[in-house]
């Protein structure tokens, strides 16, 4: 078996619409020229939250509620929740 010949005979012919791809490349190059070195900015946290909320409202609401509960519980653990709440109320009333 002449493997080399077999391999060369088995070379796949791969059609491609190179012109169309090249058009996209040239358009991207134009953009690159207009704003050289500019990297796309990562989305802000608030935007990401909003996008996630629009896409998956129920899981996001649940996760947010849990997170807020955990934070409140943690505050309660650290300061004694009622003590902290009274302090906050007092600071508002006697300001």
């Amino acid at each position: 078996m002449d493997l080399e010949k077999l391999l060369r005979e088995s070379k796949p012919e791969l059609p491609a619409n190179i012109s169309q791809l090249n058009t996209s490349v040239l358009a991207a190059l134009q953009d690159h020229k207009a704003t050289p070195g500019v990297q796309p900015k990562p989305a802000k946290l608030v935007d990401r939250f909003f996008q996630a909320f629009v896409q998956y409202p129920l899981p996001v609401l649940t996760a947010s509620s849990l997170l807020i509960s955990v934070v409140l519980l943690q505050l309660g653990n650290t300061f004694g929740f009622s003590h902290w709440l009274i302090q906050q109320a007092g600071s508002i009333v006697f300001r």
Partner: protein
Amino acid sequence: MDQTASVDALVQQYLAGSQQAAAELLERYGRMAYTVIRHLIPRQADADDVYQEACIKAITSLSNLQDQARFGGWFKQIAIRTAIDHRRKRQAVHTPLDERLHDTGPGPELSALQAAQCRTVRDAVAELPEHYRQVIVLFYWSDCSYQEIADALRIPKGTVMSRLHKAKALLQRNLEPTGVKEGNALWI
């Protein structure tokens, strides 16, 4: 755009701001780069993305190219590296069955038996471990020289030759049970 302009002249024109020069460079060398990429990345949509990425990398870093007449070889290297990086990112050790090359098949001059043989050989190549598959594809299907492969894969030329040797031995072993033979009497 002057279609007879030399490559280094086109590179100079692009660097001077001519978008047409970039179009001409892609027109001349795009198919070669795409073929190399497509052989390394069988899934067409991925290959298209990698091709565009490689083109942008090559064109935007033209100012780094010292020997501008060597644009073709340089572009080929960028295409190979971009394709290999893409595969690494995907952590594809083996090409899954659905990722095998779907080409237009053999021309009408090839018999059904030959077409079947080609498919068997391509499948056997697709089954090879990644580092063997790369050298086989680049050497036999993308017409790269040992040196070009060595430069693109950043390995010594001797390693390329030894990988090719081992890859062929493995291929031969895998193809023997299928009864694939050279010539028209293909199947035992």
